[in-house]
């Protein structure tokens, strides 16, 4: 097991290097740091000094890949590539445009993100599985057809509509919870209810439909027929056999996104004013803080790959037929 995990982590390295290379190309080769400075400082009427100052402040005043003026190992370490890209592997994200340490900000902001994403995931799973089982129980009837059509209608509605509509209905018309904001500790719950609720409702359509197909696939299998032939009631078949076996694809689908929960959701967090990583990213995009965007791209990839590794491991834990090789 341990050997397998180590090998998977080693496999992940070239992928992360690829990601790193892509971001480096995007941020420093497609546009030179000079272009970025010109853009941020206001295009045409910019003096050379202002550009140089901008570059020096961010550490962009070094050569890209090879520094001919330095000697020894510094030829490669005193460059933008080493400073901005290689150091990401050590999770040294550098500092943002306003001088704050990105690594520190991330460590502070991931908890509010998690506080929304985790309840959202758990409540969502419960709701979607319940609905999907219900639809699967009534398969082939008008209930089933109606349920599927309802799912298609629900998944055709833009996610933004759920948020705006929910905020208007619950926050402004009914005045049940504050529309947006955040607080520390238990006080935060009243701010979390609405985003979590909306998150769950927004996912009903697509998730219920997806889980329904998983259940139906499982219901068509031989062991279900055997269980029925032995005289097992339909509900018992569904809960004892179908649910248990269908949990394998459902759980593995969930494990992939577990690490990504820290990243939060861009849209939800910015609409509800949650100080998580999602709104951090969106603020960085709108203020064109390239350092933060770079850090988030790298972090996101690391978490995704972590999710893939966890998925493979969880496969073996829930399904004894699969062996690690």
């Amino acid at each position: 097991m341990l050997a397998y995990i180590i090998r998977r982590v080693l496999y992940a390295l070239p992928i992360l290097m690829g990601v790193n290379l892509i971001t480096f190309t995007l941020f420093f080769v497609v546009n030179s740091p000079e272009d970025m400075a010109r853009m941020q400082l206001g295009a045409k009427h910019v003096t050379e000094e202002a550009i140089d100052k901008w570059k020096a402040e961010r550490g962009y005043d070094k050569p890209l890949l090879i520094n001919n003026q330095a000697s020894g190992i510094a030829t490669f370490t005193d460059t933008i590539f080493y400073d901005k890209s290689v150091k990401l592997f050590a999770f040294e994200f550098g500092s943002a445009d306003d001088g704050r340490d990105i690594g520190y900000d991330i460590s502070q902001r991931m908890w509010p993100s998690l506080a929304i994403a985790l309840p959202n995931l758990i409540l969502g799973l419960l709701a979607y599985i319940t609905f999907a089982l219900l639809v699967a129980f009534f398969r082939g009837t008008y209930m089933d057809v109606g349920g599927v059509i309802l799912c298609v209608v629900l998944m055709s509605v833009s996610g933004l509509f759920y948020i705006i509509g929910g905020q208007y209905l619950v926050g402004k018309l009914l005045h049940l919870v504050p529309v947006s904001g955040y607080d520390v500790g238990l006080e935060s719950i009243k701010f979390l209810i609405l985003p979590v609720l909306i998150g769950v409702v927004a996912g009903i359509g697509s998730s219920t439909r997806w889980y329904r197909t998983i259940f139906l696939e499982e219901i068509g299998k031989d062991y279900v027929r055997t269980a029925r032939a032995k005289g097992m009631p339909e509900l018992a078949v569904l809960f004892k056999h179908v649910l248990k076996n269908a949990m394998i694809p459902i759980l593995t689908g969930v494990v992939v996104i577990l690490p990504l929960l820290f990243m939060g959701s861009l849209i939800t967090e910015s609409f509800f004013g949650i100080p998580g990583l999602g709104s951090y990213t969106i603020d960085a995009i709108s203020s064109q803080d390239f350092a933060i965007v770079r850090a988030m791209v790298f972090l996101g990839s690391v978490l995704y790959i972590l999710g893939l590794i966890l998925t493979d491991i969880s496969y073996t834990l829930v399904d004894p037929r699969i062996k690690l090789s």
Binding site: F27, R38, S158, I164, L260, G300, Y304
Partner: protein, 469 residues
């Protein structure tokens, strides 16, 4: 007035796409194995209804893609003809009054007075804050307070009536044509259609068409007299904005797939069929790309595109050309983030296919690798490609709105549902709320996405061999 046609990049690609689809239809008609699943789509009620709705959206999009620029009134001594920097489309021409009737600021749907009070000078010199009369909505009414509802009602009735008349004409022609073709009497055919006993569900088709006719007449009759969906912050008609956004939504949904398709097909099949180092390289490529969260990759790429555009203003003749290039790049970037899923599926399918007997037979006959791929594998994975195209479409249309909200979507000057939502969002806090821009964008988007989802279900049922009965 003379005009000059303008062909933007996305226009060319859209026309190419429409042409390709038309050619593909003609090609498929002669081939039974290609025509059969499509006939099944045409037999499902959901399939034809949603296809008709999609077709109408496509018509709007194509009309909006025929661009031109008007000539400026030439000066006396200027030898060279100059053209206006504003790029218009045929849709603008058709919607003429609706486009040009620009108020000063917000007004609610069917309102005759503005949404906000304005200071106005009374004849006796005093100043008063009143709701000013709109310049273009309901000006034919003497007393808007009393006449408005009666006027709207009578016009709506007229619209419904003319819509039904149009439908009736169309239905009669259709039944006539059908009875000729299937050599039945007119009455017999009419009964079949009305009872819904025909092979192609003509009744559903006619009903959908009827609703469309009525809506069209209603918009045409009321649109020129009122702002049927209100006006936005700068007084533009929201209905016009929503119609203009159709093209953007369609382009994002289709061009993205068009861009990614060659990569996904080529790399996926090569990896699955050739295996070895090709497989390793392709797998590495798509694992790397898919491990970057999509929104972040798009955000990073669009940020860099913004930098590039800001530094090279000389490349673009008009604002429309700049916005157009940004749209195209957005499609490319979306394509790069979304081809991995299809590529993975095709690789798996190609791996399955290469073990098939007929491929082995082809190898034994000495058929070359490239020939096997094009003749034997490609046609047999096309159903997956087909399903992926229609499945992706609705997701991409929805993604556009989210990306525009994040600020990495289409150019802010471009008409799109995302930009409409983004602009209206700031007015959420207003009392009473300005809801019509949001609602219009959401409804236009919802109908398109719903039609696309229903259509993709019908297509999947017809093409997926596992679901075939």
């Amino acid at each position: 007035m003379s005009i000059i046609p303008v062909l933007l990049w996305t226009d060319a690609l859209l026309f190419f796409l429409v042409l390709a689809i038309v050619l593909a239809v003609f090609y498929a008609r002669g081939k039974e194995h290609l025509a059969a699943p499509w006939r099944q789509v045409m037999r499902s009620r959901m399939g034809v209804a949603s296809m008709l709705v999609l077709l109408i959206y496509v018509c709007i999009g194509v009309l909006d893609s025929m661009h031109y620029r008007k000539a400026l009134p030439s000066q006396e001594n200027a030898g060279e003809q100059h053209y206006s920097a504003e790029v218009l489309s045929v849709l603008d021409l058709l919607m003429g009054p609706i486009k040009d009737n620009v108020e000063t600021t917000y007004s609610a749907p069917f309102a005759t007075h503005a949404f906000a009070r304005e200071m106005q000078q009374l004849p006796d010199g005093q100043q008063q804050r009143i709701y000013p009369r709109l310049k273009y909505a309901g000006i034919h009414l003497d007393d808007p307070q009393t006449d408005r509802f009666a006027d709207i009602f009578s016009r709506s009735m007229m619209a419904v009536l003319s819509g039904f008349l149009g439908l009736l004409m169309f239905a009669l022609l259709l039944v006539l044509w059908l009875s000729k073709r299937q050599s039945k009497s007119f009455k017999e055919m009419f009964n079949l259609v009305v009872r819904g006993r025909t092979e192609v569900p003509w009744r559903v088709l006619l009903l959908t068409l009827g609703i469309m006719f009525v809506l069209l007449c209603w918009c045409a009759m009321l649109g020129s007299k009122y702002h049927i969906l209100g006006t936005d912050k700068v007084g533009q008609d929201v209905f016009y904005l929503a119609m203009k956004s159709v093209r953007t939504g369609l382009l994002i949904g289709t061009l993205t797939t068009l861009v990614m398709l060659p990569f996904a097909i080529l790399l996926g099949i090569m990896a699955g069929y050739l295996r070895g180092w090709v497989d390793d390289v392709v797998q590495y490529l798509y694992t790397t790309l898919s491990s970057i969260p999509g929104v972040l990759l798009i955000a990073a790429a669009v940020l860099m595109l913004q930098v590039y555009i800001a530094n090279h203003p000389e490349l673009f003749e008009t604002d429309a050309a700049r916005a157009d290039l940004r749209l195209l790049f957005l499609c490319v970037i979306l394509g790069i983030t979304s081809w991995t899923g299809l590529c993975r599926m095709l690789r798996g399918e190609a791996m399955k296919l290469r073990e098939m007997d007929y491929i082995e037979a082809a190898v034994a006959f000495g058929v070359g690798k490239s020939k096997i791929i094009t003749r034997h594998i490609l046609p047999n994975v096309m159903h997956i490609v087909m399903i992926a195209i229609v499945l992706d479409f609705s997701g991409l249309v929805l993604a556009e709105a989210v990306l525009s909200y994040v600020g990495v979507g289409v150019d802010p000057s471009m008409h799109s549902w995302g930009n409409m939502i983004n602009g209206a969002r700031l007015e959420m806090a207003r009392e009473p709320m300005v809801w019509w821009s949001l609602m219009a964008a959401f409804i236009f988007m919802f109908i398109l996405v719903l039609a696309a989802n229903l259509f993709s279900d019908a297509v999947r049922d017809a093409f997926d061999p596992r679901l075939r009965k």
